[in-house]
Every structure is written in structure tokens, then in C-alpha cells.
Subunit: 355 residues, 4 copies
């Protein structure tokens, strides 16, 4: 029931605020005997790390992950794995104005309404900084599902989509946008840079594909694989929509257009389409699991917006400080992490009931 | 952790198969002292009931809900409320073909892959018949949140959307499509009827708006109100996408376009827009909570599709039996129920921590 | 988190009141493919059934268990198993006095304090009648752990203990007390009968031994096998104490007296003692799991006790109606059921993490 | 479901091994706005701290608790409170022998059976060092229940019990045994010292009384207050038995002897006895909650015991290193912490459902 935990058997709990001494995650339920090290986890943190180019926030964090428990002689022991990332580049002075007034689009107002007060420094607990903890936990989750390959990428920024004909997975690591279409990546440079210079921000769509998921993961009816993915993805900062497979487009298709017929194949069942995104009745079918996630434009913009103060008076606020002009970009490693976390959990859940 | 339960404090568990003797739900955690009766729950079941017109399945079920526990002298006692709905119109002979081959788009193949065998009669546990249990549980949830008004409707069928200018909440109950646009409802009659005659099916989009939700419900970071709504909605049969507020469209807006500025109002804070759909940082803001859900076209169609038998041989299957030509229509009461269930749970969770 | 569920993966939820139309349990997480039938479950219900002799309550219930879901063609399907037992011998008139005043030692006062009112008929939800649901769920649990043999018996009534020298497992089914010592069983006849005639009641101690539990079940630190057993047993009506292995006696031993030394044996590790009761560090050791449970004397007695009315006035109450003179006796099948339920859950939990 | 978490709404997760860099707890669900500081938590850690006299282990740990999150300007924010205690006095060389053979009575053998290997240094995760995390979490829990006073003490060591006539709560802090009977404390000095000199160890009984708990906490049937206390206490290292109120003695009483009659009192209901230990039907009655816990003698003793090596060969092992001659003594602050943790959780759970 805990509010800061996710997962059923492979379960993690995160803690920490943007401007506290550290953030972290406790991963519980990891199988024993898996080879693990801080070095193996770090690249995933690095992929999400801020301050790497002008298209992301200029906050500079080393984001070094430390393993505090659950590992012995280079292997997981089956006991909780405590992961800690120290905050090193907090600049709390940047946020003094936020203490007094609510940033539109941010959680400031809602947190105050709920808790009566809030840690306003950098958004406190509601900061996307928390996603570093998920990425660390997700790096552990990957160890549990070596049979699965997870690939996420940005498919659209500010309404400018990639061209499927240009799709090249090898391009994803070649540009600062996790973009699989080299031409789109070039266009996005100008697009994002202009938004940044305007003091504005852009939304994005991220796609994530997991291949190698065997048929049978996911437990109907309230531990459905797609429902858990929806919860996991919708809970990422700035996410406003989640689709599985054909998604909203399925609502515009006829039954025969959306069908995923089957035939006998060389390696077992062969599907003739994957409108379902690899999940039927909440259970994986053996096809690639496909999820699409909508990120809103970063709420922190330099263009002033009307808002109110904590005492209810009218004011205007332009959010200074260091921000991502398109928060969806750095969402890519987070989306991958959530995919890994959900799949690891379901692999274990399936094993519990059906092995 | 149980796989057939949903919710944290206000929690329900469903059971039952399409062609078993009955289906049901156990609602746990309901506050004591609420006035309740079978008569008060029944109208919600009736709204979802099949066989009411030619646009829904011709299976005829009375769908009478019985209260077996948790109620004394017309009031909830705080103990589990067991709700049962007997199945009365099973026609198992309709499904004999399904026993041998997998219906494309259905959960048949995935269930077999997971469990090794399945109750194939009417889809067994994977049948949308289970949603009657959710609707019954949702009717109880409504008692917990009298301050909230929930309204869902179909906003789009087969790509034909309502015109917001024609929106009239009073129309929703006036047509078999839960359509708030009288003109669209007339168009949809032909649209759905043609699909039915073609042996095909159509997808739909359902919108759900909850007004009266106070600011402060939802618990970051892994009990976010939007994440729970996403899980709840994505878990409904045939759902492939969920959006909160602006949803995927937010990905195409700039920061200033997507902002929800605030100003002091007569009754407290006044928001100048609701792109967020009433949720920020996973917590309600006091604005209407807005969710949009994509239903795929019913997978059961009369148009034959290639598929395989249980033993892996090629065959073709046209799904006979009684089916909804557009399953999204009857999704409306289910969506409302899930909204009520999530909100009731979060009201109680908020009260636990912040009262 | 639900309050009427127990277990982590193999999880059951019970519902129902003593004088409602029925009681029941929903068992979630059961592995698929296990042979099951109502006939196979019924003997466990029969063992607990009231009205079988003068040493138990004279309420007569057939306690016929019905399977409403989760089973197809004689096998579990992996979906929730709904079990229902109809109440047939309620006599609500017996309890009219209880509506007005609180029975000392019963939950009446506490329920009213918590919920503001209560279903007073036969104790409502707090009645030991609920244990029939656990016994039914436990009968399903046994199917999950065929490698385990569970044996419970009464080892002491009213302070009169069995003589270990007389222990004969074959005797347990030969007397109405589940007593493994024929001589003690004869003494208890008079003991219990006299208490009954006096309008009084007696406490009892029940022991439960599970053999065949392999080493490795139980998950430290907050899913320890012994902690779960303690919760499961302490939650049975009238239970006031739980011991594992040597229990309270261990507090009186020195380290070397309480040691369980090991040596190589023919079939692997051989323990030279079992003071630990088969559990170390919360994990099974492969030795028999031994639990001892204290049942208080039935609170319902004919000897009048001072108490107060709902409105707070002084009165006296003698609990008429039909009651067990020694509720611990009928606790035996319930204790066995809880042992099975905890072990089934831990077998599956272990398989999830360590297979 | 997580295996290293405890509680339902006020929920904590612990992590860490005896000889890792640190141990800690994440407390989730704490209400916002409670005054908190490291200084306020530290005294509870100090009460449990080892190395304070010759009756406890000579391992010296400062046990300084650090708050890493969830607190802002001296108050809880409602977000997870991460507590960390660094290990500073590990001496891993002491445990080299343990790597090869299993210590009888310890979790070594069971951990290996479960996980395939283990962190053998100081018992790793199974070390009682973990209880420092619970004590830290418990210190937070106390903030949630200011109306409750918790007092635990040792009532018996090695079979030598306190004399109730000598009970003086003021004595508990005056001796190294948390003993409320000055005369018994003097006897225990010799008793424990002799056991220590013999290389042996002693068991103990701890009693814990919580006063100020209002009627109504605890949620039947599977979130009973007594069942949760039983789970919490049985899960403490070395505990083998738990009693509520009269406990096992209730099994030896007749109904009228064990009754807790009521009468109208000056401040509402007055109970004439408290055999129930303040809990009826799983719900608090408003009387003091009384729990009694049996600790076995420390398994680590200098007297050699037969055991086996990891490869299954016979050997002998005397556990050197630094150990408590009577682990029950230092169990007192842990028992108090668990009581606070269970009560804080149930206060919040009650508020959720019944406010």
C-alpha cells in the first residue's frame, strides 16, 4: 500500500527531494545470485544525467549511484538493495520566489492543498530529479530479465514526428534527442533551441519497445501487464497520456483492420500484425510490447504567467532557474527503466503462479 | 498484491467467468454507516446491461445484484460487502469452436500460454462480462464520494467525433450511445448498424469528467491519482489508451499554450484553463478531473481471420455468438465506475494521512 | 492492504456475517491445473462443522461449500476461486438481548466503538462462523503444497495436558476433541461436560505440526514464515498466544540447551533437536514446523456478568444461545487451514524469487 | 507485498546488513507537519545501542541516525522519510569461520538453503543489527501517536521473574536490564554475568504496555490489531512466542475467570479486568494494550556445538566474536518501536475508514 513503492514482487521504494542531501531507491525482492556492481548501473544514470548539452537543464549532477546493501561479493543476495545518489549541485537560492507563489502547471499548489506546506526548493519531492532513483532501480530490474531488450526513443517533439521510413535504431545514441531518425534530429536541434531561446518549452512523444518478452506475463484482471505499464508510465513527471500498441488510433479502426491474425511459423506462432502492442487480455503474447507516452511541455518557462501567492493574492511568475526545454527527451531513460521494472515484476509474478 | 483486487483502502476483488454460475465483487474498506440497498445499486448495473437494443450484444442478462454481506439495517457496517450477480443467459454451445482455435485479438492465445489451458466459454475470465462486477463495486464507491459528480460519454465512434459546440449533457441518456451530441448520435446509428451488418466492429473514445473533487487527493509518487486512473482504465477490456486532460495533444503544445494560470476567484483559486485535467504532480487541483479512454473495435467479428488451433495448425475463424458491434459504448458505465472507485480510494487515503 | 485479505501471492479474502445469507472466500493466485472439486473440499468443512456432538455448539449448519468460479473441467484455471457457504440455521431471535448490551469478552463493545453500530446477530462479522471461510480457503491451499503434511490437535484443555508418552496420531480422529492421547480424551469428556453444565467454558491449547516443508520458505525480514504464522494464528477468534517451537519455554533455557546442532545425515542435514520449531531467521530449515496456539475460554457463558448497555447503563448479561463450551476444540481445523494458507503462500513467494 | 516492508498506511521498509556500509529505513505515509529532528530520534537509538555495559555485546556503534528526506524546516512533509545509520565498528575478521560452517540456531543454514549463498559477515541481513532501523522508524511512529504512552521492560531472565509487588516503572531506567523490580535487577547482574562467563546465554521475557490507545483501532478480520502485533513482535530476532493479555494462561482459565466485565465509570466505560490485553475481536477496547514476548537465549555461545560445513561435513563450532549474553535485554527498545509502528499504522487506518 505504500505510496512511494511500485511493483508487486520485484518492488522498489524511492525517497528524496530535489534539494535534500540525497535521493535513493530500495529495491526489494530481487532474485539472489545476479552479478551486479555500481559500474554496471552507472551508464543508465549517465543516460539520464542533466547538463550534458544545451537541450537539457544546466544543473550538473554527477549522479553517482552507490549500492549500500543487498550485494555481497559482486552478487545480489536476495535482500533489499539500497541505492543512493547524492545531490551535489543544488542551488536553493534560485527558488526563493517559488516559496511565495505557485508555479502554474507544477505541483506546488496541489502539494500545499494536500499537505499544508511543502519543500519548495526545486519542486522538492515533485521534481523530476526523483526519476534518477527509478532509473537506478530499473538498471537492477534489467538484470532480472536478460531475455528482454528494451529500446525507447523520442518519436515526436512539438508536433514534428519522425518518419518511420528513416527509422534507424543505431541513430538513437548519435544525437541528444534519443531520435532514431537522423533527419528529424537535425530539425529538432533548431526546434528545441528556438523554444529554449524563447523561454518556452515543447512537448514530446516517447515510444518504447520491449522485444523478447515471452507469452504469458501479466496477470488478469487487476495485475494486467498493460494496466501496470499505464500506471508506471503515467506516474512519470509530465506524462499525460499512455498508449499500448495501436492506442488511440485503434478507436478509429474497424475490427478487421485492427485484427492480429496468426499462423504457424518456423519458431512457433507467427502473428501477421501487432496492433495489440504485444498484450492481449492483460497478458503478453510473445510479440514486442509497444508503449507510447505523451510528455507535456515543461511547465517551467520564462514567459510570465498569472498565478497566485500562498496567501491567495494575484501575481505573475516566470520560472527562472535551470530547466529542460523539452522534458520528454530525458524521459527516454526513465521510460526504459519503468518498462524494465514492470517486466521484471511480472516475470517473477508469473513464475510464482505458473512455474 | 492480489491479482484480482484493485484499490488501496477502498479495495475491491472481483471473481467469476462469463459462463460460470455467477460473477461478483467483494468490496473491502467501505466506511460504515452509509445508506445502501440493492435497489440503489441496480440502476448502475442496468446502464451497462446487455441486450437493450440492436447496438449491443443480444445476450440477455437481468444482471440483478445481490448484497450478501456487509450491510445491516440498510447501512454499510464497515465489513466486506459481497456482491453477486448470477449468470442466467449463458449459451455455451455458441463457443464450441473457440475451444479448438484462438480468436485473433482475444486473450485466448495468451491465457493458454500463461495457464496451460483456459475456460473458453465466452472468454471465461477474460470476458467483458466481468465489468458488471466493477460497475457494482463502483456503485458502492459512489456512496463514499457524494461531493463528486461523475459524467462519462462517448465522444467518438469509428473516427466520427462529437462537435463540442453541440455538447449537451442532457442528451447522454437520450440515445443508445451515451452521446452528448444529438446530431452525432443520429449519424452513429447508421455507422454502428452498418458495421454490425458487415459483421465488423468499431472503436470508440470515451471521456469521463469528475467535478467536485477537492484539491489534495492523490499521493505522490506511486499512488498518484493519474497513475491509478491510468491503471484502472487501461485494465478495462478493449482499452488501448488513456489520456489525462490535454493528453497526447499536450505533446504538440508549447509551454505557454499548455499552462493553467491561476488567479484569485470568488470561491478561492480560479484556474484560467484545465490542460492538466485537474491533476498536477499526481494530486487533484480542485478542477474537474478529465480522462479520455480509447476502446479498440470489438475483436469478435464475423469476417474470418487466419488463426491457429490449439495444436498449432493453420485455420480460419469467424467469431459467431452474440457480440457488441462497438464495445466502447457499454464501456461508459464501466469507465464511470472505475473513476468512482479510484476517487473513493483516494479520498480515504488522503483522510488517513492528512486529516 | 485490504483488511479482509490474507497472504501475499496465494491470497484469500473472506466476507460474510454469522446471520447473513451466506459467508465465503475468494482465493486469488492459485496455480492453474490443480485437480479440485467441491467434494474434495467438503471434508475439511465437515471437520469444523458445528452441532456434531454435545461438546460443540448446537447450531446445525450443513456447511456445504460451493465453487462459483476459477475452476473448469475439474481443474483450477489460475483465476479467482470464489467459495460460498450458505447460512441455513440462523436463529436471530436468540440474540435480541445482545442488541442492547455488550457481551463481556466479545467484540461487541469494540465494534460499536469503531463503527458506530454493528450487526449484533450472532456476533455478525466477529463470529467464529467466519472461520468456515478460512477452512474452505485452506482446503484449496493444501492442493498447492502436496509435499506437506499438516497435523493439528488439542494438547491441553482447561489446564489438563496430554501426556507426550501417550501420543498417538491415530487417536486424533477417534474422539470429539482432536486429542492424540486416549486417556486425556476420556478425562476431557467429563471436564468439558461439567463446564458445559455449569454454564461455564474452558480454554485450550492447540498444537500444529507441518512436516515435509523444505528448507528455504519464508522471506526475511517482514515476510518471515514465523511472523506470518503468528499473524495468521493470532487472528483466529479467541486466540491469545502463539509460540513457535520451544516458544515461551525457550526464555527459560540456556543457549546450549536450546541449540539445534546439526550433523551429516543419510538424507542430507540431520538436526539433533528442533527447539526452533523448524524456522530460523524467518526461513524454514527443513525440520517440522511446530506452532502452539492458546485459545481463551469461550466468552459466551451462562454465568451472568456485569456489563453496560449501548447507552452506557449498568446491567448484567448471561449469554444464552448456542455456544461451544471450549472453542479451542473446533479451532483445530482452523489452525490447520491457516498453516496450509501460510505455507502455500510462502512456497509461491519462494518460487517467485529463488527459482 | 514487499518482503522488507511492514505496515499498511504508516509503512516502513528497512535495508542493510550487519557489515555493510550502513543500514536504514524508509518511512512512508507519515502525516505532514509533525515536528521532527535527528536529535529527537537519537535517544531511542541510544537506548538500544550496544557496547554500553558488560551485559550487552561489546561492538561499539555510535548509531547516529541521519534524516535524508521527507523533512523540511523541522517538520515532516508527508513524503518518505529516509533514515540512515552508518556502520562504523564492523570487524569482519571475527566471522571468517562462519563462512565455512553453519552456526547452530542461527539463520546461516536457512539463508544458504534459500538463496544459495549469503553475506556471512556478522549474520548479514539476519543480524539483530537490523533492529536499529526499526527503532529509528519507531521513533518516527511515536510522533503520530502522541496520545499513547508505551512502556516495555524485561519481566523475566533465565526463568527468574520479577515480583509484581515490586513493580516500579521508575526503576526501568535505573539498571542495565530495563527491569522494573530493583531486587530482580540485582539478582540478574549475577545471573547474566555468570552466563557470560560460562560462554552461555539466557532467554528473557519482555512485556510491553501501551496506555492511551482509544477504543476502535484495529480492523477485523485480517488487519486485527493483535494479529499485526503478533507479526511485528514474532519478526524480531530471537523471538519465539507472543501473548496478548492473559495469553497462554487464558487457556487454563474458565470463562468467568477470564471475563472482563464492564460498568459505567466516571470517564465512560470502566472495565473490571483486562484479561483481553486491551483488544477484543482484533479492535482496541480503550484498556491498556498488553503484549508479552519470549526471547530465546542468544544462539551465539562459546560452548562448541556439532554442526556441518557448507559442503556438508561434520564439524564443531563455538561462536566467537562479540555477542549479547541475553539478547532479550536489548529487545526492549525494539519491542517498544514495533508497538509504536503498529499503533501509528492502525490509528491512520482507522481514520481512513471511520472518520
Amino acid at each position: 500500500m505504500s505510496m512511494n513503492s511500485f511493483g508487486r514482487i520485484f518492488r522498489f521504494t524511492t525517497w528524496g527531494e530535489s534539494h535534500g542531501p540525497a535521493i535513493g531507491a530500495v529495491v526489494d525482492g530481487c532474485p539472489p545470485g545476479l552479478a551486479i556492481s555500481e559500474e554496471a548501473l552507472q551508464p543508465f544514470l549517465d543516460a539520464r544525467k542533466p547538463g550534458q548539452n544545451k537541450f537539457t537543464t544546466q544543473r550538473r549532477e554527477a549522479d553517482l549511484v552507490k549500492i549500500l546493501s543487498g550485494v555481497f561479493e559482486g552478487k545480489t543476495t536476495g535482500t533489499p538493495i539500497s541505492l543512493m545518489i547524492e545531490n551535489t549541485d543544488q542551488r536553493s537560492k534560485d527558488y526563493s520566489e517559488v516559496a511565495k507563489a505557485y508555479r502554474p502547471g507544477h505541483a506546488d499548489y496541489a502539494y500545499d492543498a494536500k499537505y499544508g506546506f511543502r519543500d519548495y526548493r526545486g519542486g522538492g519531492r515533485s521534481s523530476a530529479r526523483e526519476t534518477a532513483s527509478r532509473v537506478a532501480a530499473g538498471a537492477v530490474a534489467r538484470l532480472v530479465i536478460p531475455e528482454v531488450t528494451i529500446m525507447a526513443y523520442v518519436s515526436e517533439i512539438g508536433g514534428d514526428a519522425i518518419d518511420p521510413a528513416n527509422f534507424d535504431a543505431g541513430e538513437i545514441a548519435n544525437n541528444p534527442f534519443f531520435c532514431p531518425d537522423a533527419a528529424a534530429a537535425r530539425r529538432w536541434e533548431a526546434l528545441v533551441d528556438n523554444a529554449r531561446k524563447d523561454g518556452s518549452s515543447l512537448g514530446a512523444v516517447v515510444e518504447c519497445v520491449a522485444t523478447g518478452v515471452p507469452a504469458g506475463w501479466g496477470a488478469p484482471l487487476y495485475a494486467k501487464l498493460d494496466a501496470d505499464l499505464a500506471a508506471g508510465m503515467m506516474g512519470i513527471n509530465a506524462v499525460k497520456g499512455v498508449e499500448i500498441g495501436e492506442g488511440f488510433n485503434a478507436a478509429r479502426l474497424r475490427g478487421e483492420e485492427n485484427a492480429d491474425p496468426m499462423r504457424p511459423g518456423a519458431d512457433g506462432t507467427e502473428f501477421l500484425a501487432n496492433h495489440a502492442g504485444g498484450i492481449a487480455g492483460g497478458i503478453s503474447t510473445g510479440q514486442p510490447v509497444v508503449v507510447r507516452i505523451a510528455f507535456k511541455p515543461t511547465s517551467s518557462i520564462l514567459i510570465p504567467q498569472p498565478t497566485i501567492t500562498r496567501s491567495g493574492e494575484a501575481t505573475e511568475l516566470a520560472t527562472k532557474g535551470r530547466h529542460d526545454p523539452c522534458v520528454g527527451i530525458r524521459g527516454v531513460p526513465v521510460v526504459e527503466a519503468m518498462m524494465a521494472l514492470v517486466l521484471a515484476d511480472h516475470k517473477m509474478l508469473h513464475r510464482a503462479q505458473c512455474s
